[in-house]
Amino acid sequence: MTRLRPFLVPVALLAVLAVVPLLSLDIPVLFGGPLDTPGTLGLLALCLVFAGVALTYDLLFGITGLLSFGHALYFALGVYLTTIALTKWEWGLGKTLLVVAGVGIVVPLVLGMISLRVGGIAFAMVTLAFAQAGQVLVQKNPDGLTGGEEGLGLNYDAIPDAFVGVLNTRNLYWLALAYAAVVFLIVRWTVNSSPGHVLKAIRENAKRVEVIGLQPFRFKLLAFVLASFLATAGGVVWLMVLGTGASPQVTTASFTLALLVMVVIGGAGTRYGALLGGFLYTLADQRLGSLAGSSTIEKLPSVLETPLSEPLFILGTLFVLLVFFVPGGLAGLGARLRRVRT
């Protein structure tokens, strides 16, 4: 029984989340409608996608100690390549996914080999530079492929019927949940494996790892490619969940920074921190906008009402406060409270 202990919590969590689309439960304030409605399910699916994508960022930042400012590039790669292949080149879904997977490995491999030659802030800036290059490329709209500023609509014919249409939102929910679960499993497995222990050692002190005779570079590259590949997958899932198509917003530095905020708020390097951060950030970002219109907020004096109506203001402030007072993020807060109680 003890061998199964570590699995109890995640499995239970997964089970609970899996049955959500079947529950006709109404949670006011948090959601605009009962859990089994398409609107709420769509929102939850989005939260789950970002929970997963935040975790991919945490693999880089929290676990390996690599501060990247260009993670959006790989997410955008998944989004744009899939959209272009399905819509512009009219490929089938199978072929598209295969090619996206291949590109999703090769690109971070090449860029990672270049970027990882430097560390620290220099690494952060190089990753930023590459992501910016991607952003510019998308804006330039070569051959009208990317749709530039306006983005690119998705061709629904190529997508399996199970994922199209409002009534099938629950399938999209389960797809998003599957994605988050897979990312969680892979990251967990990586962390607990021997390469994972090396990654942790690298984060603490790369020099010492060299002294032992291992080459930090190989392990960093592994983490980089894995994290980027999973982010690309996240891009594809996101595309399905939203259903609208590619938009240049996903190529921006702000997008990567949002991931950073998610990870820090949740707690970098902790087991559930990034998932929690990604989920809550997305929820807050989506819901605070509608809450702002609610009567309670409107009654506040405009000095308070104006900033509070902007979700990013609240999230940014929370982020700053957490960095200051609770570096472990919300997950760290939990750990601290437990320590206080015992």
Partner: protein, 293 residues
């Protein structure tokens, strides 16, 4: 030929803005080792403060602009000093948290501006004589370019003089080289930190005002988009060096203009961004302080 002249002067005008925002960034990182991601937000705050003041003043566009600019610069300096005192100083020995705090701050400030004035661009007061053009070597140059170049030149001169002739300038120059030794001489570097942040904030605000003149409008995304170029300029020109920043700003502005026109639109931005990657890969120590702090 006339196109070339227009491109060159426009490139210099852009370079002027890049210099203004990069100079603060350069000093802040050089002296304090803090990569201030909120610098773009300081630009935005300064630009909007200037715009707001200009709407409160009655008078010609020139008067509005001047009043707005002065107010914007003051706000930029004040906000920057406050940020340093309240948020950066307490995190003195935690560099990762310092960077994260500036990231969060950028989010908060931008969100605040968007919340108060919305996403739409606001028209900036530009006197007609700045919109008019002057003929230089056959090219019609909008006069605002000259204003930008002149302003940046003045600031460059002022900063250089400040660094060369004043005691705080001396402290900053020494501190950029070796912060610990400065404290070992009995000097409280922290005051220099606040001063440098304030200078950076003022310069960024001024860049915001100039960008309002150049583009004719202010919008919330301005700071972030210019910040990327500021990073590029600082990395290429070397942290802590005002002269290096100036040269690098001119180079970046010109490359951007020439490449965008002679190669293809958008390629200039790409070229500049890749230049950043190349410089970083060839010279990663460019980002580390010269002497360990």
């Amino acid at each position: 030929m006339s196109t070339f002249v227009l491109l060159t002067i426009t490139g210099l005008g852009l370079g002027a803005m890049y210099f203004l925002i990069a100079s603060g960034l350069s000093l802040i990182y050089g002296l304090m080792g803090v990569l201030n991601f909120a610098h773009g937000a300081l630009l935005t705050v300064g630009a909007y403060a200037a715009w707001w003041m200009s709407t409160k003043i009655d008078g010609s566009a020139g008067v509005k602009l001047l009043a707005g600019a002065l107010f914007g610069i003051a706000v930029g300096a004040l906000v920057a000093a406050l940020i340093e005192l309240v948020l950066i100083r307490p995190l003195y020995r935690r560099p990762v948290e310092q960077v994260l705090v500036t990231v969060g701050l950028a989010l908060v400030l931008n969100a605040l501006v968007e919340a108060i004035w919305g996403f739409d661009a606001r028209a900036f007061p530009v006197p007609t004589w700045m919109i008019d053009t002057t003929s230089v070597l056959g090219a019609s140059i909008p006069n605002d370019r000259f204003v930008e170049i002149a302003t940046a030149a003045l600031v460059l001169g002022g900063l250089t003089a400040f660094l060369r002739w004043t005691r705080y300038g001396l402290i900053i120059r020494a501190g950029v080289e070796n912060r610990a030794m400065v404290t070992a001489l009995g000097i409280d570097v922290r005051r220099a930190f606040t001063l440098v942040f304030a200078i950076g904030g003022a310069a960024a605000a001024l860049a915001g005002v100039l960008s309002g003149v150049y583009f004719g409008v202010v919008d919330p995304s301005r700071g972030t988009s210019l910040l990327i170029f500021a990073f590029i300029v600082v990395v290429i020109g070397g942290f802590g060096s005002i002269g290096g920043t100036a040269v690098s700003a001119v180079v970046v502005g010109l490359i951007q203009q020439y490449a965008n026109y002679y190669a293809s639109s958008g390629l200039g931005d790409l070229a500049v961004v890749l230049l950043l990657a190349i410089v970083l890969l060839l010279k990663p120590e460019g980002l580390s302080p010269k002497v360990a702090h």
